[in-house]
Structure formats: C-alpha cells, structure tokens
Symmetry: C2
Amino acid sequence: MQTQNLSSENSNTKTVFIKMAISAWDGYNARVSKLLETLPDEELLAETAPGRNTGIYLFGHLVAVSDALFPILGFGERLYPGLDKIFVDSPDKSGHEMPPVKELKEYWSKVNAKLSNHISQMREDDWFTRHNNVSEADFKKEPHRNKLNIILNRTSHTSYHLGQLVYLTKK
Amino acid sequence: MQTQNLSSENSNTKTVFIKMAISAWDGYNARVSKLLETLPDEELLAETAPGRNTGIYLFGHLVAVSDALFPILGFGERLYPGLDKIFVDSPDKSGHEMPPVKELKEYWSKVNAKLSNHISQMREDDWFTRHNNVSEADFKKEPHRNKLNIILNRTSHTSYHLGQLVYLTKK
C-alpha cells in the first residue's frame, strides 16, 4: 500500500512538472503566433529597433531553433535544416536570402504542430532522460540536463525574442 | 526495498526539477546583473527603442516583480512595496518620481540576495505547495500552480524584458 502511494505520488509529481513546463512552452509559442497574426507581413521586415535585428530574422531564428528540437529530443529529423545557415549561424543582414514571411509562417505552423504531436505522445519518464546535445558522461554528473530542461530553456529563449518582436507593433 | 527505491526516485525527480528551475532563474538574473554592470547608469535612462519603455523603468519593473515574490512564496514581507505604484501599476513616463539608478541597483542586489537565501532554505516538498496568488479550491483543480511554477513564470518574464534591455547596449 505504501509502495503504491509512493509510486503514485512520484507519477503525480512528474505529471505536474511536465504540465508546468509544457504549459509555459505552449503559452509563449501561442503569444508569438498571436503577434504574427496581428502584424502585416511587410511590417515583419522592419528592424525591431534602429540598427537591431529585423522581425523576419528573429522570427526565422525562432523557427530554426524550434525545428532543431526534433533531433535534440529524439523526435526524428528536422523539417527545415537549411534555416540554420541563415538564421542561426549567420547574423541578420548577412546577405543570405531569407524565405518569404508567408513561407516562414507555414514553417512555424508545421514545426509547432509536429512538435506538439510528439510532445503529446511522450512517455513521462522519457522527459527526464538525456537529450542528444549532452554526452552520457556529462548527463550522469548533471541529470538536470534532460529533455524537459531543453523545453524550459527554449521557453525563456522564445520569451527573450518575443520581448523584442513586440517592438514591431504600433505604439 | 521497493518502497525505498520509489521514495528515493521520487525525491531525485524533485531534486532534479527544482535544480532545473532554480538554475534558469539564477541564470537570467545573473544576465540582468551583468548587463547592469556594463551599462553606465545614465544610459539606463534612455528608451530601449524609440517611444518604448526606458531602461530604468524596465529595470525597476523587474526589481518590483522580484520583490513581490516574498509574500507570494510565503517568504515574508516585501522589502520595497512602494515600487509597485511606479513600476507595475503605472506605465513608464507616468510622472511618478523614480528612485535613482544607483538606489535601484541596491534594491536589486538586496532583493536577490534575500530571495536566494530563502530559496536555499526551502524544503523540496514546499515548492510543490500552493502559492499565495491562487486559492485553495483552484489549486486542488490545478496543482501545477505551485510555488516552483511561479519561478518558471518569472524566469520567462525576466528573459522577456532582458531581450529589451540589451537594446541599450552599444551596437
């Protein structure tokens, strides 16, 4: 009986943690999507502040970083591996041709839909396993570097750039 | 034996998750502190982008929001309750007199030092109890609205405004 209670407490604790992390992740992605809906595509081409990154660069950066989650979390291959060269390895105004805003929006939807699908099928215990950017030896020493931690980190990353993207909205 | 394993597994999961959340929180606060060190005080008075919030307003906002954590997390009274009127309840340029940057930096250090002290003394299970901004009835239905979730939310909040504050740095 005690075993059963502890087992169920353990499972509840995990369920609650996972819910906390995924809710936050979904929430910030939804805020980005909402912002994109309210901004005419051409306004995304502007700089978020004088001399700073353009909206389209930051948006493409978010798409690329989310797309990179597939291999990191063991969800399979990326959908758009070509985005990294433009939006991660190079700064804005690097001269690389960017996909049109309309296309990036499609990528964003597809990446998020596919991620959500994988996330919904994830077994709870799998969230606390090693992600593919950390070695087995390092993970042994630092078990907090698990898959769910990637979600936490990426949520703050999205939030950081959302704070900049909102500067594209009318004052 | 099985009971002990489950109990210990449960405790490990909690330890790991708490470590994930607190590391992220500390990390973003450290990034704000680092930015403040590199910015001359007078540059914090500028707008982060034309017509947008000033650096000092955003910084005061972060101090006020962190200070508000004391009662929310059951850590006792706030240190600087007067900040809310200026930095939370009112927008920037409301006409309220702001404390000088030097003073706000002192507040930031003191709030963070006192918070860290409370956080380090927190018992693991306490993190998963109800925070003081949610009713007992709601918490029963939504157990993810616990104290640790406040830390997760505030981390993304800090990150959002950090993304804006970095626009004060020289290009």
